[in-house]
């Protein structure tokens, strides 16, 4: 599976947009990009998944350029409750295993 690289931490303030970029240079044709969120003392929670271009749901947007070697998770108008660790994963379409990297710790301040 393609190795992912993302910033270790990011700070933001309430109401701002947070963009987390993840690089996955060795992504394969049948790989998907998936993002999970983990709050302290909880298990990870699925946020969004995409293959190419842009995907949006009620929580976030995921931007994937044409070469798919990177992706950007966008969290609009964050609040204090968005403080969490965000994991970028590359997932093969026929493989159920998840390989978690270090993740990005996002801290939202008032």
């Amino acid at each position: 599976l393609a190795k992912t690289t993302q910033p270790i931490s990011m700070d933001s303030y309430e109401g701002q947009e947070v963009n987390i970029t993840c690089s996955h240079n060795n992504i394969a044709t049948n790989d998907y990009i998936t993002w999970y969120q983990q709050f302290p003392s909880q298990g990870p929670r699925f946020i969004i998944q995409g293959y190419k271009t842009k995907v949006t749901n009620e929580v976030a947007s995921l931007f994937i350029p044409a070469d798919r070697k990177s992706s950007t998770l966008s969290l609009p108008r964050v609040s204090l409750s968005d403080t969490a660790v965000y994991y970028c994963l590359v997932r093969r379409s026929n493989d159920y295993k998840l390989s978690f990297g270090a993740g990005t710790t996002v801290t939202v301040r008032a």
Partner: protein, 118 residues
């Protein structure tokens, strides 16, 4: 989407003893997974547990240390055997299930079991 519960939520154990962690799902699922998350670290997959077959362990994890049972499609246990302080971690189970309103699958995680070994 699946809802997962784990028991116990936390425990403090003496070295050399064993602890069995239970994972219960509110729906029938084929694939269940066990992860370990050491303090301040990311998640590491221990094994995949499918009903009706032996669990498949990842590199660095062995059945003698982490025996797993999967008696039916809604339940699994992970035992941490002959514990040492290095086994102090959060242990999480997850299942593969259909995403709510989506055309793909996602993994749903339990709340975890926080284990401290003295």
């Amino acid at each position: 989407s699946a809802v997962i519960s784990q028991k116990p939520s936390r425990d403090i154990c003496q070295r050399g003893t064993s602890l069995t962690i239970q994972c219960q799902v509110d729906s029938q699922v084929t694939m269940m997974f066990w992860y370990r998350q050491q303090p301040g670290q990311s998640l590491t997959l221990i094994a995949t547990a499918n009903q009706g077959s032996e669990a498949t362990y990842e590199s660095g994890f062995v059945i003698d240390k982490f025996p797993i049972s999967r008696p039916n499609l809604t339940f699994s246990t992970l035992t941490v055997s002959n514990m040492s302080p290095e086994d102090s971690s959060i242990y999480l189970c997850s299942v593969e299930d259909h995403a709510a309103g989506g055309s793909y699958n996602e993994q749903f995680f339990g709340p975890g079991t926080r284990l401290t070994v003295l």
